[in-house]
């Protein structure tokens, strides 16, 4: 494929404003008369609210409004309307430490803080439950007593005949795996400003990954018409899934603004960001794998218990997605899956880069290594033997079009030096290598029942081009990707393009930026819009230059008739069309992704995924057996990009995801006592700093046969998925110890080493 712009590692179009400090985030906005809003949150994990006295707070000078549940609409909310279970402000009961109880708006932050301290709330503590398996027991405290139990949602999937297959196969491995609660730690905390205009229309400025969806959610929970809600976004300081579902501060700010007649801003403190901005869903998993003695995986059985926390959010979607990926990888013919979502009195979960897949991959890919050991097979060989293939529909119905799985495995294994390093235990070096595979979506999903994107291209008489798209820029490079696609199709330079994506009044209706969706969905729409714009430019040029439209060339913002030396600026063509001919030039494009004929969302299962992306990571670690520290020395991350639109950006996405994956595997964990999170700061919730990162080699595997733009697959999420199992498998190679729980902190590693007799430190 001959392309001019696609495939080049061009500098991002948003880099300059970001390095100069000009880039504005919603937290940077200021408005005349703006008040500071703050939320009073429950200090109790589970309690009845017996009384609230706001009189002292209301009387504090500088306080403009104080609200409690009686001042807000009493409808409940959740991402799924039919599972709605959360009030804007708690009415009679609080269900986790951090639950919203009251809110104030005041002239400044200090006054608002003081007002919060003056609100008197009486609680009657109730027994709380923190462990999902305890919560499932009869007699456990009920997080939502109006429901029958704490198991709030379940799903079962069955393909083939697993019982028969397990009974007949040669080797079976079983295990229980537990993953933990981790925080997104976006550098920009969740924030919003709410303001009503004279026509009673609400505008909310907020760092959201899904402005159109959140607009609907705000309208729904406030009980107002959607037409009266507008959501405006800006550059976002990170998302990673935390900014997909509406945060309660949005309707709270809206109500405070309504009551005061002034704009109200609410910004999370960093502590609130850790304790209330929602986390990755912890999973408890019971996994069984069965194989023939020559290494063909014939059956898998996974029971997955997802810890919802105190309220519903994206739990069902996350568990469904987990099941789809579980069902697709390795094309296992017999699969049983049971998923349960269980309430506990903890901060609730939400979407987080990987969306249930990192959790499941930790279990499946470490168990696969155990299977390899039992079979006496090399783990790489076992994976190659069971590799998915292009063009094959799996037993669970996944349509795998392009598939570079074999290349990913080989690239990762070769890159880490598998043959030289694996299994070399000489008693001296405590180094080891490990590998893990994954499959993920490379284009979002159809599980809303629809999946589409639109794009508009406006051509200006100064030669610039405005692209109106709903692809949001939260750091993943979506604006640059869209601009590159447009530049390629239209024949302009990146510097000619302005990208607008920030206003629900302006941008096409869209499900938002998540699930590695933007490149695939919005990219295809921009490609179509770009072609449409190219067509009208060609026609206008043909008319102006009196040539055949097939002979018009447009490149780097210049237009000419093929074979002629006379090159015109695009500006001239548009100027002529607009000001002489009287017809403005623009392009429109859409991309509609539908379920295959005959399927619905529940029946489609893995056919909900328009495009699969495979990947493999290999890690080399060194274990300090005196302290238990695991040092990651290098990671090779081989991921499918289909066609790499921007090499630098693709590497950046993979590198950043791997570093998050290392944190997930070794260091990060929200720690509690009596339901209260203890490490609500960067001091004690550790994320990797620059001194902690290993060598990372990102390998972009370009495989053909996908339906993304130029064959591209999304790369935003996959880099996080196989890192933890790759590291766990490497630790096993180094010291012979397997882990069934994350994170593998130094203390846990040392304990495991002592129990296995490998430790050399400590006299206890």
């Amino acid at each position: 494929m001959n392309t001019c712009v696609i495939g080049r590692g061009l500098p991002r179009i948003d880099s300059v404003p970001k390095v100069t400090g000009e880039a504005q985030y919603t937290v940077d906005l200021k408005m005349p008369g703006m008040l500071s809003g703050k939320i009073l949150r429950s200090p109790q994990p589970h309690a009845l609210i017996t009384s609230i006295d706001t009189s002292a707070a209301k009387n504090l000078a500088g306080v403009q409004a104080v609200i409690t549940a009686r001042d807000v609409p009493d409808g409940q909310f959740s991402f799924y309307a039919h599972l709605a279970d959360k009030n804007i402000l708690c009415t009679t009961r609080v269900r986790y430490v951090g639950d919203e109880v009251a809110a104030v708006a005041a002239i400044d932050d200090d006054t608002a803080e003081e007002a919060l301290s003056l609100i008197k709330v009486e609680y009657e503590p109730l027994p709380a439950v923190y462990d999902v398996e305890e919560a499932m027991q009869p007699g456990s405290p009920l997080v939502h007593p109006e429901k029958e139990g704490n198991v709030t949602w379940t799903v079962q999937r069955l393909f083939g005949d697993p019982d028969k297959a397990f009974a007949e196969c040669d080797v079976v491995v079983e295990g229980k795996y537990v993953t933990h609660q981790v925080a997104h730690t976006c550098m920009e905390v969740s924030n919003c400003i709410a303001k009503w205009d004279a026509k009673d229309r609400l505008t909310i400025w907020t760092n959201t990954q899904a402005p159109h969806t959140q607009r609907q959610e705000v309208a729904r929970v406030l009980g107002i018409s959607k037409r009266n809600v507008r959501v405006i976004n800006s550059y976002m300081g990170g998302g990673f899934g935390s900014k997909l579902v509406m945060d309660m501060k949005l309707p709270i700010a809206a109500i405070l603004s309504r009551n005061t007649g002034r704009p109200v801003r609410i910004v999370n403190t960093r502590a609130e960001e850790f304790t209330t901005s929602k986390t990755r869903y912890p999973y408890t998993m019971y996994l069984k794998t069965g194989a023939t003695k020559d290494g063909r995986i014939v059956a898998r059985d996974l029971k997955l218990i997802g810890d919802a926390g105190a309220y519903h959010d994206k739990g069902p979607a996350t568990i469904n997605f987990s099941s789809m990926m579980f069902g697709t990888l390795y094309n296992v013919p017999n699969i049983r899956f049971e998923g349960l979502l269980v309430y506990t009195n903890k901060e609730m979960g939400t979407a987080f880069r990987g969306f249930g897949n990192p959790q499941v991959s930790f279990a499946t890919e470490t168990q696969l290594d155990e299977l390899a050991e039992k079979l006496g097979m090399d783990p790489v060989e076992l994976r190659l033997k069971n590799s998915n293939e292009a063009g094959m529909e799996t037993s669970c119905g996944a349509d795998v079009c392009g598939c570079g799985m074999g290349e990913c495995i080989t690239a990762a294994a070769d890159g880490i030096g598998w043959n030289e390093k694996r299994g070399k235990k000489d008693g001296k070096t405590l180094r080891g290598v490990g590998l893990a595979n994954m499959v993920h979506t490379g284009g979002g999903g159809r599980f809303y029942g629809f999946n589409s994107a639109e794009a508009f291209v406006k051509l200006s008489d100064d030669g610039t081009v405005t692209l109106i798209t709903s692809a949001l820029e939260m750091g993943q490079g979506a604006h640059t990707t869209m601009a590159q696609i447009l530049a390629e199709e239209l024949g302009v330079r990146l510097s000619d393009i302005n990208v607008l994506s920030n206003d629900t009044d302006l941008t096409p209706y869209d499900l938002g930026s998540w699930g590695s969706r933007a490149t695939f969905m919005n990219g295809n729409a921009v490609l179509a819009a770009g072609r449409d714009a190219r067509r009208v430019v060609g026609e206008a040029a043909a008319e102006m230059l009196e040539a055949d439209v097939m002979e018009i060339v447009v490149e780097e913002g210049k237009v000419w008739v093929r074979g002629s030396d006379e090159k015109h600026d695009l500006a001239e063509i548009v100027e002529h069309a607009v000001n002489v001919h009287g017809s403005p030039l623009s392009g429109t494009g859409e991309f509609i992704d539908t379920l295959p004929e005959g399927y619905t969302v529940p029946t489609a299962f893995a056919k909900n995924i328009p495009c699969f992306s495979f990947g493999t990571q290999a890690a080399e670690v060194e274990v300090d057996i005196e302290t238990g520290q695991v040092h990651v020395i290098r990671v090779i991350a081989a991921h499918e990009t289909g066609t790499t639109i921007n090499q630098t950006m693709a590497e950046g996405q993979i590198e950043g995801a791997v570093v998050q994956g290392i944190g997930y595997a070794l260091v990060e964990e929200l720690v509690r006592a009596d339901g209260k999170i203890l490490n609500d700061s960067f001091l004690d919730y550790k994320i990797l700093n620059i001194g902690d990162v290993p060598e990372i080699t990102a390998v972009c595997i370009e495989s053909i046969g996908t339906n993304g733009p130029y064959g591209a697959k999304g790369i935003g999420e996959p880099g996080l998925v196989p890192t933890a199992p790759a590291i766990a498998n490497a630790v096993f190679d180094a010291v012979g110890v397997r882990f069934y729980e994350l994170p593998m902190t130094p203390e846990r590693v040392l304990k495991a080493l002592k129990e296995s007799g490998r430790s050399e430190g400590g006299s206890s």
Partner: protein, 160 residues
Amino acid sequence: MKRELHITVNGDAHHLLVDERRTLLEVVRDDIGLTGTKNGCGAGECGACTVLLDNEPVNSCLVLAHEADGQAVVTIEGLAKGTVLHPVQEAFVEQGATQCGFCTPGMVISTKALLDRTPDPTREEILKGLRGNLCRCTGYLKIIDAVEAAKCLLREEGAE
């Protein structure tokens, strides 16, 4: 209680009446209106609020504004000269070292401080100089590349 504060920010003198509780970060962002410097954690852990105070990199969220009375502050907005980027900024752009960009102002200021003090840092010195700037997006590798590239750009500039 409010008190008179005199500080120079990016070469401009400011005379303000500022509550004693306010931090340098708040004054820079809210009173002076330079929002490039960011509030990441408020506790001196993440470095998003890094500015130069009399040429030393500091976490402005932990400096009371009045403690900086009479001193010179340089924020991210003070680096470029019109449309001409500072070599550190240029290097960050070229090397793809920005993603969401929220850590970038602090990261760039810390890099400038590092290279001002140590024009030819070893990799260890680079890591040490930037340990106080957290990034959640990039995985840091391209930031290290940017520091190396900035080192060369500054050397070339110095040689001209």
